[in-house]
Amino acid sequence: MDDLVFPVTDDNYGGVARFWFAIEEDIAGLDVLGNIQLKAGKTWSLGKGVKYSCMLSVKARIERGGVLFDITLEGQLAKYRPALESVLAKMRDQRFAILVKDLNGYVMQFGRPGEWLKFSTNQSTGALPSDPNGYKFQFTGSMKAQPISYNSIIVDNPNVPLPEPDGDPVRIYLNGLLVATIPPGGNFVITTEFTLEYTILS
């Protein structure tokens, strides 16, 4: 048995950055490390919730037969739209394996053949114009298998374009003069014979 001594020496952010899911029919099996292997030509589907709404919970429960893990990944999706409802309709009550990337960058895998997570939603319009109109979604399931780190490369669905970066443009000033305005996702190249450190303050 190892010691249980794991001090945190750097940042530790709460939350889930994004997740991926694969429906049971697209899954070929597990490799020797226990990582999910998809069937040829299949890819992981990307999932993102409203910023900072996704959270993962893994509760270990001791039963007569051994340890069971109750896994829940939940989050929110804002605004009813027919296209969104169409995707959710295909997912409801289906069984999935999921990969969860936390805000510290670690990727964890849950679900495997015979022990899948089920998807469900809870839609609500709210009553006031200021209330949220959207969905709460969750993947839930119980597993006998220990959760594992995912060590393979995640192949995203190539048919889904990457989301456009959002945010305000950044203005670059040099000695008080505006020299460039960089749009979200843009690059600003500085060529100099010196090694300098730049800090963008706003």
Binding site: D2, F6, G15, A60
Partner: protein, 158 residues
């Protein structure tokens, strides 16, 4: 018998650290009820996020007699694969514990046949400011109070 124990010095709440021994590594108990480990085995050290370790041993009276629910719980921050590896070996296993409270007292919990089972509850939180952590607990229910003072041993001085 009198119940008069006025506190004359400091009395800090909380647990400083703990040690745990797997049931397979335990040989038995000696005449002073101290857990004795098998040859070549040792106590593993456990530490948690500062001020999250908490021991409780509530007593309930049932028809059959008195039941003790011993629990040592704490928090370990930040999912890391190497941490998960250690926790996965411990989940569902049974242990004897020795913990040191913040007043410096060593207390032993559990004995052969009446050990504590380890479990965890992982959560990422939703916001970056929320906790990404495990809550862990060693818990067990016994019909005898297995909590005894632990005599200091060299291996527990750390």
């Amino acid at each position: 018998m009198n119940l008069t124990f006025p506190v004359s010095g400091d009395n800090y709440g909380g647990v400083d650290r703990f040690w745990f021994a797997h049931e397979d590594d335990i040989a038995g108990v000696d005449a002073a009820s101290q857990i004795v480990l098998k040859e070549g085995k040792f106590w593993n050290l456990g530490r948690a996020t500062k001020y999250t370790l908490d021991f409780s041993n509530p007593q309930t009276t049932r028809r059959g007699g008195i039941i003790f629910n011993s629990t040592l719980k704490g928090v370990v921050k930040k999912y890391r694969p190497e941490l998960e590896d250690v926790l996965s070996k411990m989940r569902g296993e049974r242990f004897a514990l020795v913990f040191k409270d913040l007043n410096g007292y060593l207390i032993q919990v559990g004995r052969p046949g009446e050990l504590l089972t380890f479990t965890t509850d992982q959560a990422t939180g939703g916001l970056p400011s929320e906790n990404n952590q495990y809550q862990f607990s060693f818990g067990g229910q016994t019909n005898k109070n297995t909590v005894v003072s632990r005599i200091l041993l060299p291996e527990l001085v750390a």
